[in-house]
């Protein structure tokens, strides 16, 4: 029961702990920020990095060929699909008319759709 950890296990455990900390900070952003777009941007980035770190820690801990292949493939899928899903969600929310927070400064997508100043000058 009182077995000492190998160095691979120590590295993997450190990665897992940092991943869980990133996950918790992303979920705190999910509950504290004022509107949908802020929540998407905070929670997606933090939770994707945290989950990738947890998976990397699991790969380092296990160390077998199956675990390395499947874990790295899963990290790749997480990095690709979560960014795509967040982009589709924010675009769908803006198109379906979800309002921005009261403190928002600029809404370039609405200006661009209405043919405003940014669209005329070709500045996005």
């Amino acid at each position: 029961m009182n077995d000492p950890l190998t160095s691979y296990q120590i590295v993997g455990l450190t990665l897992i702990v940092f991943g869980v900390l990133f996950d918790i900070s992303g979920c705190v952003g999910l509950v504290r920020l004022p509107d949908v777009y802020n929540r998407i941007q905070a929670s997606t980035k933090c939770v994707v990095l945290g989950t990738a770190l947890i998976l990397l820690g699991a790969v380092v801990w296990l160390g077998s060929l199956h675990a390395i292949l499947k874990g790295l493939l899963c990290i790749l899928f997480i990095l690709i699909t979560s960014a795509t899903a967040a982009h589709a969600l924010s675009r769908a929310a803006h198109r379906s008319g979800v309002p921005l927070a009261e403190r928002s400064v600029v809404n370039r997508y609405a200006e661009d759709q209405q043919g405003g100043r940014g669209a005329e000058e070709g500045v996005l």
Binding site: D23, I24, L30, I40, L55, L62, C74, S82
Partner: protein, 91 residues
């Protein structure tokens, strides 16, 4: 001994806290988009959960569950995003 008895339960409690926050946001998000964002984040957190279960049990085949969960969660989020814009799902 300290890892199996203290550290892993602490990590599991931290991820359960993340799941609880996501469920809170699903239960009373002001708009439908908030609920969809929380569902997406919950799917990603569950993938991390499965990775920790892989470490605890030492069985590498549990990573298949994480892989499939990530892909299915992605498809569900895209379908919900299309539904939110007002398109039908086959356009």
């Amino acid at each position: 001994m300290i890892t199996t008895e203290i550290l892993f339960p602490a990590l599991i409690v931290g991820l359960l806290l993340c799941c609880g926050i996501c469920l809170y946001r699903i239960a009373n998000g002001p708009t439908a988009a908030d609920r969809m964002v929380a569902i997406d984040i919950l799917g990603t957190v569950v993938v991390g959960f499965v990775a920790i279960m892989t470490v605890l049990t030492g069985k590498a085949y549990l990573l298949d569950v994480a892989l499939v969960w990530a892909l299915v969660s992605f498809v569900a989020t895209l379908a919900l995003a299309k539904y939110l814009v007002g398109k039908r799902l086959d356009e």
